[in-house]
Amino acid sequence: MATMTMAKALNAALADAMLDDERVVVFGEDVGQLGGVFRITDGLQARFGDKRCFDTPLAEAGIVGFAVGLAMSGLRPVVEMQFDAFAYPAFEQIASHVAKLRNRTRGALSVPMVIRVPYAGGIGGVEHHCDSSEAYYAHTPGLKVVTPATVADAYSLLREAIDDPDPVVFMEPKKLYFGSGEAELPARTEPFGRAVVRRSGRDATLIAYGPAVPVALEAAEAACEEGWDLEVVDIRTIVPFDDVTITESVRRTGRCVVVQEAQGFAGVGAEIAARVQERCFHALHAPVLRVSGLDIPYPAPMLEHTHLPSVDRVLDAVARLQWDDQPDPRWLTEGSAA
């Protein structure tokens, strides 16, 4: 086992994929000589040449559309969107072509590619640099949407994404880039479509993904002091989604809080909460609660900590899980309270 950052693991995954498969080409803005603004493509151009790793004109629709054509010609494009919000110009290409070409052509033409998106906040970034955009992609059939929370997953999921026959939007939590973890490369973790129990517990299940996973884990540790033994499930691959693991966990614990960094309304957490409720209704002792970012545009750096789901907010939600069999007073109408 070696200790390394998530950034390093992602870089190693790209390099190993390029080594193993000469169809893999990596391109985007500043990914060549500079190695990307987060250095995820560091050294790839020097090592593999400027045909395999190259800078493009500054145009995100162009980058993704170009990748569509390259994939049609038989190459395996891996493109970098510089920041979450700067992928929006490419949305038409992603939603109308990347996601649909296989379906539109009854499987005759597929465009396997990886669209890497550094996303979410917690890094003191100014506006347009901290969006949680995963719901837009997860809501688009035809895309796989993956987001690692551990160093080993970063490597393994990226390798799997590059090998996958379908297009993958690979969401990289920026605030985890430079945190270290243990991994032995080439790491192979659970495949796409499998959620993982990061911490076992008996009393309630916290379900999280991407940047919210460390928050959930920290909350679970803190909860011990209050006498709660919490389980933490890391979703890892939003699409394809693993109903089995979360259902099994919540049926066992009987309580569930979904934690996501993104704004909550109509988000991935809402989907997860609905699915848990559908599958675990008879095992639930309390409504499924959500802890998410606020329903506001991502705030300015000095205010982001009010927005971000914190350990305390998670613990507050856990406290509201009707431990004493009393309904949460905030959901009682005057009539029913009487």
Binding site: K51, T56, P57, A59, A61, G62, V64, G65, F66, A67, V68, G69, L70, A71, M72, S73, G74, L75, P89, E92, Q93, S96, H97, K100, L101, R102, N103, R104, T105, R106, G107, A108, L109, S110, P141, G142, K144, D164, P165, D166, G193, V239, P240, F241, D242, D243, V244
Partner: protein
């Protein structure tokens, strides 16, 4: 005696500084000619031959004529099929036959075409089964043909998005040592979309062998060209990207093919993309569902009837003695046969399978899709039982 002061002469001979050569015009070879390239007059009589745009061989022109006649008949048949409820909608390209056919005739079979919804005629001229071409509009699936077999992308409706795909495909092909050319069909209105500019720019920067072929039919549904651009013509959009460009009379089949041949040769030779603007006119409404009286006069449409591309080529070929009454009749008969075959096949109600909705969303269906498929299967079974 007073001496008039005289300027002292230099003892050494005066050297002349060589005149600074005029800086080469960086736009030379990129700008289109001020007037459209034209090789035939509207009445079909020839204009002087041009060395830069050699006239295509006469067999190619005869074949072009044949495909234009068949194409127009196909187009009329497709419009008729909308009236019979066999097609949901049909965007006609009547009047644009020289462009529709020229664009595919300039290519090899292993080149790639990136068409729009307007190009049904072009695709049938490329030899794709007309029923497969019309699948999208009949409504039994989106794309009816296998793009990898006929080297033709699905007809593209999100305007201009195909411009970048072509750049990527063409670059990817040359990257892998193949000399494939990509031909992008695009309308005048769509040149205002960002993806047109990104596509042309990417192709230029990566020297991708793409021909961007703008059919300027003067309207984007109801919106006239003057609302799309203030440029002298759309062919002037190439110079800003370093892309050589030309404008051509899009109703002059000989000139269209000559210019496209040169554009394709340029791309295939590894010199990067080429932009061609063809000035043409759509004689029919935007689609059968459009009401063109709201935005253009009947007089304007009538005036374009005198510039009919098929009549123009026919009179030229007749004058050159390579087409006679018998050949014209024979080609007309072929066109009728083609239309009759299409009509007959389109009269058969296609079978659709609701369970196929779950195929091809992903290479392997997700567990959720498997579940939904099972639900639909049960619904279908219950419906069948109810019917029985």
């Amino acid at each position: 005696m007073t001496s008039t002061p005289q300027a002292v002469r230099r003892a050494t001979p005066r050297k002349r500084r060589p005149a600074t050569p005029a800086a080469p015009d960086p736009s030379a070879g990129l700008l289109p000619e001020a007037e459209s390239v034209r090789l035939l007059n509207p009445d079909g009589s020839p204009l002087p031959a041009r060395a830069d745009y050699p006239e295509p061989p006469v067999e190619a022109l005869r074949e072009m004529y044949r495909r234009m006649v068949v194409g127009r008949r196909f187009d009329a048949q497709a419009t008729a099929l909308t009236k019979q409820g066999r097609l949901a909608v049909y965007p006609s390209s009547r009047g644009q036959e020289a462009c529709q056919v020229g664009g595919v005739l300039a290519l090899r079979d292993d080149d790639w075409v990136f068409p729009t919804y307007r190009e049904s005629m072009a695709l049938t001229a490329r030899g794709i089964d007309p029923v497969e071409v019309l699948t999208l509009l009949r409504g039994d699936w989106h794309c009816g043909y296998d793009p990898t077999v006929v080297r033709t992308a699905p007809q593209c409706t999100p305007l201009a998005t195909q411009c970048v795909h072509a750049a990527g495909l063409a670059y990817g092909e040359s990257y892998q040592g193949r000399d494939t050319v990509a031909m992008v069909y695009i309308g005048d209105g769509a040149t205002s979309e960002g993806d047109f500019h990104e596509g042309v720019n990417f192709a230029a920067v990566f020297k991708a062998p793409v021909v961007y072929f703008v059919q300027n039919n003067r309207y984007a549904i109801s919106v006239p060209l003057s609302r799309q651009t203030a440029a002298p013509s759309l062919a002037y959009k190439g110079v800003g990207y370093g892309v050589p460009s030309e404008q051509v009379d899009g109703n002059d089949p000989v000139a269209v093919l000559a210019v496209l041949n040169r554009a394709v040769a340029h791309a295939r030779a590894g010199k990067g993309p080429f932009l061609v603007e063809a000035h043409t006119y759509r004689m029919e409404p935007h689609t059968n569902a459009d009401d063109q009286t709201r935005y253009r006069d009947a007089d304007e449409v009538a005036a374009w009837r005198d510039r009919d591309p098929i009549a123009r080529l026919e009179s030229y070929l007749r004058a050159r003695d390579v087409l006679d009454d018998a050949a014209v009749a024979e080609i007309a008969a072929q066109a009728e046969e083609y239309a009759a075959g299409l009509r007959e096949r389109m009269n058969i109600q296609p079978t659709v399978d609701p369970l196929s909705l779950f195929d091809h969303v992903y290479a392997q269906p997700t567990p959720q899709l498997v579940e939904q498929r099972e639900q639909v299967r049960a619904e279908l079974a219950a419906t069948q039982e109810g019917d029985a």
